[in-house]
């Protein structure tokens, strides 16, 4: 078990390391390097040289990478070219808001999707399953920005129940002070997760219902309800849990779009403005945050797997 965890941790570190290599390479791949990106195409060579000296970009590439790593380890993600603020400060401000959005919609997605998936699996092939599965099909094929637009048209315009814009402000309290403004962004985010999770839960439950152990449980007189919730449910969950852990990139990408649609002041919106202004320190900071969260998500999935599945937790018989 310790070995399993140590191995997973090592793999996670390797992936994070590779991500820093890729982001560093990308920074240098840009035409004229980061200097052009900041100073614009009209900058003179002298300006560029001065910028490179100031930023340490005149050193050898490995040395620069080493510098970059050392600064990263110290939590220094550089300074925004356009906002003149520490990237780490910016992220510190924005990240809690994005986490509020993503965590809420992921949680809601799980709460809706898992029971729905089981329900569909049990009623497989009946009208109620076909209809809900058909709806899931449509929702699955709907891009998040179109879903957001439809939500805005329906609930902010045709039936003006909720505001189409998220509350602005520096901290999370200002967002929470207007809960109505959170409804539509959270709903859009939930749409993304719930569809994927429910599809997975449905197929996992269908597969497990056909397993031999279900037949055994039935043969010893176990009530159908107990078979479903004490036998099938935990088994279906083991695979769905890892899938949820591995869905972090999907959730984040979704929130990138949702935030820009609802003007929600999180990391996604930050990424979006930075992209328009070629503010690469900010972009790289956001990418690193997403990458680390993705890796953490899969690590967490493995740990949860370890906790709920005795086959991973306890060594088996040697054969």
């Amino acid at each position: 078990m310790t070995r399993f965890l140590a191995r997973r941790l090592l793999l996670a570190l390797i992936v994070v390391f590779l991500v820093t290599v890729v982001t560093f390479v990308i920074l240098h791949l840009l035409p004229g390097g980061p200097a052009r990106g900041v100073l614009g195409v009209k900058a003179t060579q002298a300006q560029i040289d001065a910028f490179n000296r100031a930023e340490g970009f005149d050193q050898s590439i490995p040395l620069q990478y080493w510098d970059y790593l050392v600064r990263l380890v110290h939590g220094d993600l550089g300074t925004s070219y356009t906002l003149n603020t520490d990237v780490s400060t910016l992220l510190g401000e924005r990240l809690p808001k994005t986490l509020l959005l993503t965590a809420t919609s992921t949680l809601l997605g799980i709460l809706v999707a898992l029971p729905l998936g089981v329900w569909q699996a049990v009623r497989r092939g009946r009208a109620s399953d076909v209809v809900t599965t058909g709806l899931a099909f449509v929702l699955y094929a709907t891009p998040v920005f179109f879903l957001s637009l439809v939500l805005i048209i329906l609930f902010a315009q045709v039936l003006p129940i909720f505001p189409a814009q998220a509350a602005q402000g520096d901290d999370i309290a200002s967002l929470l002070s207007q809960p109505a403004s959170l409804v539509l962004p959270v709903l859009a985010g939930t749409g993304v997760t719930a569809v994927a999770y429910s599809r997975y839960m449905r197929s996992s439950t269908v597969d497990n219902l056909a397993e031999d152990y279900v037949r055994t449980a039935r043969a010893k007189g176990t009530p159908e309800r107990t078979i479903l919730w004490r036998h099938v449910w935990p088994n279906s969950l083991t695979s769905v849990v890892s899938m949820i852990g591995y869905s972090v990139p999907v959730v984040f990408s979704g929130s990138l779009v949702v935030e820009s649609m609802f003007n929600y002041p999180g990391v996604g919106l930050l990424f979006w403005t930075a992209a328009r202004n070629a503010d690469f320190p900010v972009l790289l900071g956001v990418v690193l945050v997403i990458a680390v969260t993705t890796v953490l998500g899969s690590l967490l999935a493995d740990v949860v797997q370890l906790l709920i599945d005795p086959r991973v937790r306890v060594p088996g018989v040697k054969s």
Partner: protein, 282 residues
């Protein structure tokens, strides 16, 4: 924007659904390719004097957009771009993924580990970021966008193919022919890939659906093909500004077109997967 690769996506009466999907797909392709022959509209010159007409006005069945382009005609032109990029990028992603995954799965050991850590890294970096970077380096066009989108979305098929290859490698017929002297190329191209065709065809259809969504996202971020060319995603993103003006004819048609096509392709992919699974059982 990657979508999650579900091992079993949707599995409800997939035979009839697959047929329905194929029919819808055929109609949409016909609409985009042959439509402009029957329905003429100027999709090159702007007509600011006839901008934002609502449906039915001045002989525009679906109205016009903010530059005066006829929306129905634009839907056809845009569909060509979306479908072309979707198909090209989807095929490219599947091809790269197939080779990458087959190599990793068949080789095993350290090569497998290295190749799959690269895939993990790719998954951890948001595809949108890579697309942004690519946009600063190249000018978008259909081939370029296909290349870029295909280049960032091969990770899922690579994982699928790796799993498939790793399973096939342990099958007795592969072992038997290896023992009797078959070389690596013969095993990979003669036995592994032909046996993975089912997985790859299915992955390919889903990949095309995902690529069409990805084109939409790219255009939504303003990184799509330059005007007067357009695609469904670009049509949508342009019309966001007019959400509050009640200009629904600018938003719903391209949105519905995307949903319809992606849905139809997923139907077909589902049917194909079931068909291949049935063949494997027989």
């Amino acid at each position: 924007m990657t979508t999650i690769a579900l091992p079993t996506r949707f599995a409800v009466g997939s035979n009839r659904l697959a047929t329905a999907g194929a029919v819808i797909l055929g109609l949409v392709v016909l609409f985009c390719l042959a439509g402009p022959l029957a329905y003429h509209s100027d999709q090159v010159h702007t007509a600011l004097d006839a901008a934002r007409l609502s449906p039915g006005q001045q002989g525009h069945p679906l109205g016009t957009d903010d530059l005066g382009y006829d929306v129905l005609g634009r839907l056809m032109v845009a569909g060509r771009t979306s479908l072309a990029i979707g198909v090209l990028a989807g095929l490219l992603a599947t091809a790269i993924g197939a080779v990458w995954g087959a190599l990793a799965g068949y080789a095993g050991g350290w090569l497998d580990a290295v190749l799959m850590r690269i895939v993990d890294t790719g998954v951890a970096i948001p595809a949108l970021f890579l697309l942004l970077v690519a946009a600063t380096l190249v000018t978008p066009s259909i081939p370029v966008l296909s290349l870029v989108i295909g280049g960032v979305s091969w990770l899922v098929p690579a994982r699928l193919m790796r799993a498939e290859a790793a399973t096939l490698r342990e099958r007795d017929f592969v072992k038997a022919i290896t023992v009797m002297g078959a070389g690596r190329l013969r095993v990979v191209f003669g036995h592994l890939l032909p046996n993975a065709v089912g997985t790859l065809v299915v992955a390919g259809t889903f990949q095309i659906a995902d690529a069409i969504l990805l084109v939409a996202y790219v255009s939504f971020l303003g990184l799509g093909v330059p005007p007067p060319a357009t695609d469904w995603g670009a049509m949508l993103s342009k019309s966001i500004t007019y959400t509050y003006d009640g200009a629904w004819w600018l938003i719903l048609p391209p949105g519905i077109a995307i949903v319809l096509v992606v849905c139809a392709i997923n139907f077909v992919g589902d049917g194909l997967r079931d068909a291949f699974a049935a063949r494997g059982r027989a």
